[in-house]
Structure formats: C-alpha cells, structure tokens
Amino acid sequence: MPNDIWVLTEHQDGRVRKITFELLSASTQFSKKTGGEVTAVLLGNGIQETAKILIPFADKILLMEDPALTVYTSDAYLPNIVSLIQEHKPSILLGGATSTGKDLFPRLAMHLQTGYVPDCTNLSVGEDGRLTALRPLYGGKVFAEMTFSDDRPQMATVRNNTFIVSQNLNKSAQVIAVPFQADRNLLKKKVLGIEKTGGTKLDISEADIVVAAGRGIKAPENFKILEELADVLNASVGTTRAVVDEGWRDQKDQIGKSGKNISAKLYMAFGISGAIHHVLGIGTCKTVVAVDIDPNALIFNYADYGIVGDLFQIVPALTEELKKVLKE
C-alpha cells in the first residue's frame, strides 16, 4: 500500500531487539502524517511467540516461518523480502543498523534499484510520504541530510537510541502468515553456529548504558571493577583501541572509528584520554561522563559531566553509591 511503513524485525532466541520497538514507535509517528499502516516483517523459525510480542506495536505483522530462516542469511531473507515488497509495495522500509541490517539492506536496495541511507541518526517524513534521513560522515565530523529518489520503498537503517520506545501505541496487529518464497537451490550460505561472547550482557552497540576504560586501567585484571559497576547499572563494558591492541580486551568491545559506534543513553569513560578516533564513536550518546586523572584530558571536551580523579578510587565508590541509590 502506497504509504505503508515496514520495519524489519530483529530478533534472537525469542527476544526482539529494542531497535525494532524504537522503529515501530517512530513509524507510528510517521504514519500519523502519511496515513499509512505500520507493518512489522518477521522472518525466522519457531517465532510464533516472538510475533505475539510485536502485536501492541504494529498494525500488521507479516510472519514468515521456515527452517531456512532460522538464522539470518542474505540468501534466504533477500528473495523473500523482495517478493513481499513487490506484492505489497510499501513506501518505506526501516531496519536497525545492526550486523543484519548492514549486511542485507545495501544488497536489497541494489536488487530493488531503490534508495538506501545507512546508519541514520534521525529520520523525518513529510506529508507526501517522502523520507528525509540524517547520517554521520567522516566518523561523525559532519552530518548529511539525505533525500530519496521516487523509487520505492525508501530504505534506511537506523542507530540504536535514535528514537524512543513508546509503550502506548494503541495498536493490535493482525498477524498474517506468508509463505516462504525463495528458490531453495539458490541458498548458498550455511551458518554453522554462533559462538556467544560477552556472556549475558548486551553488545556495546546495543546497550543503553556503556561503561568503558582505556589505558588508564593499567592491567586487564583491573577491568573487574568496571564489570562490577556494569552489573549495578545493567550496562555493557567497552574499551578503547589502545587496550584492544594490547590484547587486554576483545575487538568486539572496542569503541571508536575502527571499532563500534555506540548510541547509549549513558556512556561513562574512565581513564580514557579522548583521542579523536575514540570520541567519534560516542558522538550520538545522550549523556557522557568522563573521569580522568589529567585535568587537560581531551575527553572532557566531549563530556557532559567530568570528574578529575583516580578511577581506581572513583569507580568502586560509584558502584557503592549506585547500589545505595538504586535500591530506593
């Protein structure tokens, strides 16, 4: 339908990622202007329960179940999404700037010969249904406002925490089962397995709260005090390139230009000097706290709150204070 907005659902192990709820909430706001419907597209296997979670957030849920869709591969997802789009002709298709989004959307856009703007930090929709997207370039040194050609759907992937999840969308989605439409002979890739790292914590690119330490942590075992702080805040632990290059933490925890961009609500940097390649990774964090022993550390130029102090003193004290305050 000409003004419909579709959101590709990101899910794992029965849990729907927060970005999907953010996009469904935003899409609801957009659809108020354009008059279309909000549809969640859900591909997977054994996802009946997952679909139920989405019901309050969309007008329609297109549910496609098949063993070939158990884990995301572009081989399996792309032809199916293409046929759905060709049948229903949505105006806009949104997804998270996740490993799936970044893998699928460019290919999908190329296939459909339509426009796609990656990694957006803001979106807006006009009454005519035209999408305008804002995204960072050069690591966040400048931002570009992009518009789309007349081709449909207009596609965008969006960063975490760009939109707020609204719990009261007053929706009750109609769940529509759709058949698997891909040629199974063309499914070339096979996922052998996923090695989970990071325990129960969210990936730093997804977490609402991230605490990180740089070289100031002095030794890998000292990360323990950060883990304890992270536990109290239900946060994930990140780090800098210097620490990863030393071999103290894994690459997946690296925040910065050659690591990950994080869009946390709260980011706390301990013993991080604030070199440009790191701070470019935190530009879209809502609140930034910096603690460093050097009053001239560059990181303070990028923070909202700063403390000049010894992280080995501050972090445990912060953990204790938070335990007290959050109990109330």
Partner: protein, 260 residues
C-alpha cells in the same frame, strides 16, 4: 586464485573535515588507503601466497590512484582505475554498478573489500556489487579459512553478542573487518616499484555503461544539506572533593540527566 580487491582512497581519520557551505565540505588534504581495504588487500595476498594466482586492486576514482599503488606496493599484481568524468556525483549504487560492470566478465574466485569506507561510512559497495554480480556475500568478516578454493570457504563474522561461523561457496564477495588481519607495511623497494607501476585506466564505454547509468541524475539518494556535528554544551566539571564528587555525579545523573 584470481582475486580482486576493491579499494578506496579516503581522508585520514585525523584529517579535519568541516562544513564549508550547505553542499560543500572542506577536507584537509591527507588521503590514505581506506584502512579496511588494506585489510582486504592483506587477506588477498595471503591467499595468493597459499594458493598462487593473481591479485588485482581496483578503484573508482577520477583523481587519486595512491590506494592502487599501495596495493601494488604490498604485493598486488595489477592495478585498475575505473575513471570517467560522467562518474562525478554518483551515489554508492552507481559506483557499485561501475565496479560490477567491469567485473562481470572476469573469471574471479573472490572479491574482497573493506567493510566500509572511512569517508561516507556507508558500507554499501560490497553487498551491492555482490548483488549486481549475483554472487553470495558476507559482511564484516573477522575470520577466513580457505582449504580448497574450488569448494566452499569458511568465514567468521561479528554479530551482536557473538561470532558467527558460516560456509560460503566461491565465487563470493567478503567485506573485511578489523581483526581479520593486520595489513603488512610495504617495503621500500616495493613502494618504488609501485610508484612506477602501470595503472590500467578503464572508462565507462569500455565496460558497456553510458553516462546515463551513473552520475547525479541516476542517483537514488541525494544530499540535501551538510550539518556540523551537534554541539554539546560545555562540560560540567564536578569540583567537589572525593567522595562528595561521586555522590554529586550520581545525583546529577538521576535528577538532571535522568539516565539512571
């Protein structure tokens, strides 16, 4: 193995980039080979060292070929520059079309490139070229194991919360992420050879495209305006002594920023 590596020259991550006008940027003249593409070149060279064959570096650029020379100095055999005035103003999809048009009649086993370019940070080229060529692709790989290049290869990619291992048949395209390999530093003698190396220039007509296929009028996404990054208000330094400063911070985060 016949491997192509798609490379791009981008401003140094430390170069200053400023908004000059709504549609123009002022970029410090410090251009280097895109870091992630260097990783791709390294991956290609290691496969060549293992299985023999040829590595060609390929770029779409009307001005700079230093990234190609970098590839040659690291050990690539050939360098191709796709260049044509009509390409100016192309969006990533048109660039992908140009690359795919060049590659479609080549007998390649593997195409490698970086997971994104550090200028537009888009990550579109890799998957888009793969789609145009009709070959499978995997994004942001951090592991690559090839035992028999005529069969399928094993790749590891980063996903949220873990690492995913996949098999994928060749020919395929992979985009490379930090952690896959550390790019080798070219030796002086090889840099000298690369400085003198012949670079093949190919224009649109040689690959069966017309100016209508590329450029700003065929763009699917258009720039409306540039903005400088949103300015944060100046930092609020908490000046209390320890342990009051910690208490103040928690209070501010709770009551003022409302994030905990």
């Amino acid at each position: 193995m016949e491997i192509y590596v798609l490379v791009k020259q981008v401003p140094d991550p430390e170069a200053t980039v400023k908004v000059k006008t709504d549609s123009e940027l002022e970029i410090e003249n410090k251009y280097f080979t895109n870091f992630f593409d260097e990783i791709a070149i390294e991956a290609a060279l290691r496969l060549k060292e293992k299985f023999g064959g040829k590595v060609t570096v390929l770029t779409v650029d009307n001005r700079r070929v230093d990234a190609l020379r970098r590839g040659v100095s690291m050990g690539a055999d050939d360098a191709v520059q796709l260049t044509d005035p009509a390409i100016e103003g192309s969006d990533p999809f048109s660039i992908a079309k140009v690359l795919a048009a060049y590659l479609k009649d080549k007998a390649f086993d593997l195409i490698l490139t970086g997971r994104q370019a550090m200028d537009d940070d888009a990550g579109i080229i890799g998957p888009a070229v793969a789609e145009w060529l009709g070959i499978p692709h995997v994004n942001a790989i951090i592991g690559l194991e090839v035992e028999d290049p005529t069969k399928e290869v094993r790749v590891i990619r980063e996903v949220e919360g873990g690492k995913e291992t996949l098999t994928c048949p060749l020919p395929a395209l992979f985009t490379c992420q930090k952690g896959l390999y550390t790019p080798r530093i070219p030796q002086v003698m090889n840099v000298m050879k690369a400085m003198k190396a012949q670079i093949k220039k190919v224009d649109l007509s040689a690959i069966g495209l017309t100016p209508n296929d590329v450029g700003s009028h065929s763009a699917k996404i258009k720039l409306n305006k540039y903005f400088p990054p949103p300015k944060r208000p100046p930092v609020r330094m908490i000046k209390d002594d320890f342990p009051e400063n910690v208490r103040t911070l928690v209070r501010l985060l709770r009551e003022e920023a409302k994030v905990i």
